[in-house]
């Protein structure tokens, strides 16, 4: 890539920093220069986020239909998978899978629920009601 072709498009990262890029100058020698971002990459990130939003909405519907407990919704909202939830809560994966059933979730003690609430950075009420700012 030639230095003048270093992309200067949009990027969410531009709020924080420009990115260092390696490119060649007129005589073919490598130099570094700053890039503001690349549209292609920004679009790839957009696609990933569209998919995440879709999964969050889907999880919410599932909970409303009583097919899953709010843990599924918050796991998606916080971009986690069961392994990550297990890491933060200290529960085993099989326990978390069980807690994702609405009937089991209903009977969980507040002490256990608090672990989930802390992991997802919400209050107990928010955890139970899913009434939370999704941004």
């Amino acid at each position: 890539m030639k230095k003048e072709n270093i992309p200067q498009d949009r990027s969410a990262l531009a709020k924080l920093t420009k990115e260092l890029s390696y490119a060649t100058d007129e005589s073919g020698n490598y130099v570094t220069a700053l890039s503001n971002g690349w549209e292609i990459k920004a679009e790839a990130l957009d696609i990933a986020w569209d998919d995440i939003k879709h999964r969050i909405a889907e999880a919410k519907t599932k909970v409303e239909r009583k097919e899953a407990s709010p843990i599924l919704f918050f796991m998606e909202l916080r971009l986690m998978d069961i392994g990550i939830v297990a890491g933060y809560t200290g529960f085993w994966k099989w326990q978390i899978k069980r807690h994702m059933k609405p009937t089991v979730f209903q009977k969980l003690s507040d002490k256990k629920l608090q672990k989930y609430a802390d992991t997802f950075n919400v209050s107990l009420t928010e955890l139970k009601t899913m009434n939370v700012d999704e941004d």
């Binding site: 890539m1 072709n5 270093i6 992309p7 969410a12 990262l13 709020k15 924080l16 920093t17 420009k18 990115e19 260092l20 890029s21 390696y22 490119a23 060649t24 073919g28 020698n29 490598y30 570094t32 700053l34 890039s35 690349w38 549209e39 292609i40 990459k41 679009e43 790839a44 990130l45 696609i47 990933a48 986020w49 998919d51 999964r55 971009l79 986690m80 998978d81 392994g83 990550i84 890491g87 933060y88």
Partner: protein, 338 residues
Amino acid sequence: MKTDFVHTQAAHCENGVTTNLLSSAGATSLTEPLVFGIGSGLFFIYIPFMKVNKGPAFAYRTMPGLIFKRTCKALGIPVVRKKFSSREQAQQFLEKCIEAGQPVGCQVGVYFLSYFPKEYRFHFNAHNLIVYGKEGDDYLISDPIMEGVTKLSSYELERVRFAKGAMAPRGQLYYPKEKKIITHEQIRDAIKKGVKRNIRDMLHIPGPIAGVSGIRYTGNRIKKWRDNLGLQKAGLYLAQLVRMQEEIGTGGGGFRYIYAAFLQQSYAYHPNELLLDVSKKFTRAGDLWRNAAVQAAGIYKGRLTKQEDFNVMGDILFEIADIEKAAFQDLAKMKWSS
């Protein structure tokens, strides 16, 4: 409290942390490309059975931690690396280092990294930064992907040092044990070692998923994605391929441009024209990776939908595989001066 430390921006976090830590320990002639090459950083792997953010796992560079480890080893620099089970111990150890004037590399998770924009905050646990001082409750942070330095409160730093999930950092920190002046000869030998190991990693790892054969394998798989996965999922997978091409920086050519720069800089240590020729091949490979990303974007934005478009994408990867294979074969034939 501030250690003697100069922040220099890098295209990639581990390269940057390694370069900055080693230069503050006396190895001032090291650059990001040299570190990347000496650490045999260039790689490719596609792990179809492993999932990252519900998509397939690709890597364009070697495993996290290896660049620092290999570079220090090749230059004969002893390393301190520690993990902690207790948060208090992790913090105390860090404080002691700072008091002793030692800047420290830390592995952190990105999800709770407060200064990162939300769009970039996934549960990715192999980011690297340097803690180089403390003011009140704030740690002074040099994140090599940033133009300038920043700060994290002790709570914020603890949270990212003890992020959970795959590759959990467990408070991991590392730094060169002693200050050392690195000689021209040492760098020269380290370059040779780094190139040879990179030839092995890219050409001779058995199985279809790693190295040059992994690029070809991915090309083959992509051609089947349209039928096997459907357009929407195939698009998601391709977006993942593009996002992993570079974590941050380097303008789409990923790590290929950095490797091309490494070979150019190596010429100062090994004056052999072959290095410059092969450098051009990696520039070409980087340009093709960029083209592949543009083609992939056509698909995930829904502009390109035909099987033919997936074939074009796969063929670009075949071409890249051929170029990188030839480039490493050239390097394998090189007669080293020492």
